[in-house]
């Protein structure tokens, strides 16, 4: 059982926000849509919610087998949380959460006592019981987002859609809420799709991550999969820190210009020549503040700059000095041809 989109294309004027995108989200999964601005992730989310509609006739949005492609937003039961919360300023926290229940058509509307019970349960779930009577202007950003989530959950949505939910918050609050979201998901198991441009967030929180770029899905997999085995050059470059070196190759008769990618923590620094795969480099700068040490080096043969990440222990053992010449060993190198620009 799943939430599925098939062959979604959406254009804004000439700009193709989504180009034949298909995605299947398993029931209870938490999937992150990750990508740079303009990659189409928010558009996809909004199409699933019914806030936008795809251009092509063949596009489909399916909620557990039911075709909701043409259904208007207020009939889909998809919970949506906005980046800037979109709380109703004239209602207090309790009424904001109760809203979705109060606007139900007369026949399906729960009784007052049931509404009260459900809202109180949700307040407990998001740990905001004491704020029930406050207004949005009287609570902090992090609290507002939790209210927004509770409000979306009140209607028992079939899928939960979060649009950069922590984007407007400070770094520390963001980190705390990330953990909280993970915990919440473990408790309630709603199929969740969230959009972010913060890769740390995506890799930390999600069961699976879909990387979007230019309206297409570049890769989709678990965080470990896409980090360790990036399928394309873009994905490798986008996730985490990476060094890149020019690496011309010959394929048959032609020489294809390519780039080699190596992560800073996959490089060993030694003082003696070890094997075949070592290069000579000069240390330019050392930065040992914080949990890891970063070295800025320059290849002696090509002059290309690169960074190496060492643990504090390795750094203490090596004690590199600026200006020194050392040898580096590259591991886990991935080479991609240069057929697209980043």
């Amino acid at each position: 059982m799943s939430v599925e989109v098939r062959n979604i294309t959406k254009k804004f004027g000439k700009f193709a926000a989504l180009d034949d995108v298909s995605l299947k989200i398993n029931s209870g999964e938490l999937i992150a849509l990750l990508g740079p601005s303009g990659s189409g992730k928010t558009t996809l989310l909004r199409i699933i919610a019914g806030l936008e509609f795809p251009d092509n006739a063949g596009a489909q949005v399916l909620f557990y087998g039911e075709d909701v492609t043409g259904a208007p937003a207020h009939k889909r039961r998809a919970g949506f949380a906005f980046q800037h919360y979109a709380l109703f300023r004239h209602l207090d926290v309790f009424e904001n959460i109760a809203f979705g229940l109060r606007v139900r058509p007369f026949l399906t509307r729960p009784r007052e006592s049931e509404i009260r019970e459900r809202v109180e349960k949700l307040l407990k779930l998001v740990q905001l019981e004491s704020l029930a009577k406050r207004f949005p202007s009287q609570i902090s950003g992090g609290q507002r987002q939790r209210v927004a989530l509770a409000r979306a959950l009140a209607v028992e949505p079939r899928v939960l859609l979060l649009d950069e939910p922590f984007g407007a918050l400070d770094a520390k609050v963001r980190k705390d809420l990330r953990q909280w979201l993970r915990q919440l998901h473990r408790e309630i198991h709603v199929t969740t799709l969230f959009v972010t441009h913060d890769q740390e967030e995506a890799l930390e929180v999600a069961d699976r991550v879909a990387i979007l770029r230019g309206g297409r899905i570049e890769q989709i997999g678990t965080p470990a999969e896409i980090y360790d085995h990036p399928a394309t050059r873009f994905v490798h470059d986008f996730l985490g820190n990476v060094n890149s070196f020019a690496a011309p190759r010959t394929v048959g008769e032609q020489s294809v210009s390519s780039t080699a990618f190596v992560r800073p923590h996959d490089i060993r620094v030694v003082r003696e020549l070890a094997g075949e795969a070592t290069l000579k480099a000069r240390v330019k700068r050392c930065n040992a503040v914080g949990p890891v040490a970063n070295l800025e080096l320059e290849r002696l043969d090509t002059g290309e700059p690169f960074t190496v990440q060492l643990s504090k222990e390795q750094f203490r053992e090596l004690r590199p000095q600026p200006g020194e010449e050392v040898f580096v060993e590259l591991q886990n190198v991935k080479i991609f041809p240069d057929d697209y620009s980043i």
Binding site: A49, G50, L51, P72, A73, H74, K75, R76, R77, A78, G79, F80, F82, H84, Y85, A86, L87, F88, R89, H90, F99, G100, R102, V103, R104, P136, S137, G141, R151, A152, A154, V155, A168
Partner: protein, 274 residues
């Protein structure tokens, strides 16, 4: 050490402002209260609570209230249509809303009186039903609606323009259809601006003279509004009576001014949030 401001001219400009304000506005207004103070209670009461005066107050307040009410409903409608929809002539309509601000009241007066007369362009549609507009309270109502028209529209327009689309989208995702979204979300949020516009239209209508004087039959006790009563007293050199009435109107105007400022303060408080 002498403190001085980076920008010059504070004392000069503030002084000029207070001087001009005092000269043109405050001193003459003070004269009204001063004159009233020289009246005995009986004189004051006689002028303000005479049957003619009471009838005038009832008429002024009553018709102004209904005119402002109509402007409340239709002003919201017009503002909504101008902000949310695209149609041929929208910009022209938007500009025309300002006509009551720009058109002299005397011009509006004679024109409305003619159009809504029994043989006028609009009045003739009502004549067969025995409904007379010009030269009745209904005519005063039309004039006061005209005069207050832009107030609600222009107060509500900016609020609607700035209205966060996401709030409406949120309501939709929570299951509310358009009507429910309007009734439970948009209307409450627009209410402070609506009330401000209503108060402005009401206050304006209370004091209106020019457009009413032509369309009303101006019969004492029947169709005489307070400003006209004041005018009559002046023409009869009953300065005491005129001033007494003026003071009552001024006090009411000032109360309105404070109410409007309060409403605007409340509505800007609501808006000062992400």
């Amino acid at each position: 050490m002498k403190k001085f401001d980076v920008l010059p001219g504070f004392k000069l400009t503030l002084g000029c402002t207070l001087f001009y304000l005092g000269l043109i506005v405050l001193i003459p207004l003070a004269a009204t209260f001063g004159k009233t103070a020289s009246l005995s209670w009986e004189q004051f009461w006689h002028a303000v609570a005479s049957p003619a005066a009471l009838a005038a107050f009832r008429l002024s307040f009553g018709v102004s209230f209904f005119a402002a009410l109509v402007n409340l409903v239709f002003g919201l409608l017009v503002a909504w249509v101008l902000v949310r929809y695209q149609f041929w002539g929208r910009r022209l309509m938007d500009a025309l809303v300002d006509l009551p601000f720009a058109l002299p009241t005397a011009v509006a007066g004679i024109s409305l009186a003619a159009v809504y007369a029994q043989n006028g362009w609009v009045g003739r549609w009502f004549a067969p039903f025995g409904i007379k507009i010009s030269y009745t309270s209904l005519g005063i109502f039309v004039a006061l609606t005209f005069i207050g028209l832009p107030f609600v529209v222009r107060t509500v327009q900016p609020v609607l323009e700035e209205f966060d689309v996401e709030i409406e989208e949120a309501a939709a995702t929570l299951g509310a259809n358009r009507w429910k979204t309007f009734w439970r979300v948009i209307l409450p949020m627009v209410m402070p601006a609506l009330l401000t516009g209503f108060a402005l239209a009401f206050a304006r209508a209370l004091g209106e003279y020019g457009s009413v004087v032509f369309i009303s039959s101006n019969i004492p006790m029947k169709s005489q509004i307070v400003p006209l009563l004041i005018m009559n007293k002046l023409n009869q050199f009953d300065y005491a009576g005129a001033t007494a009435l003026a003071v009552v109107m001024l006090v009411i105007s000032f109360l309105f001014l404070f109410a409007i400022n309060y409403l605007q303060w409340r509505s800007s408080r609501h808006r000062a949030q992400p």
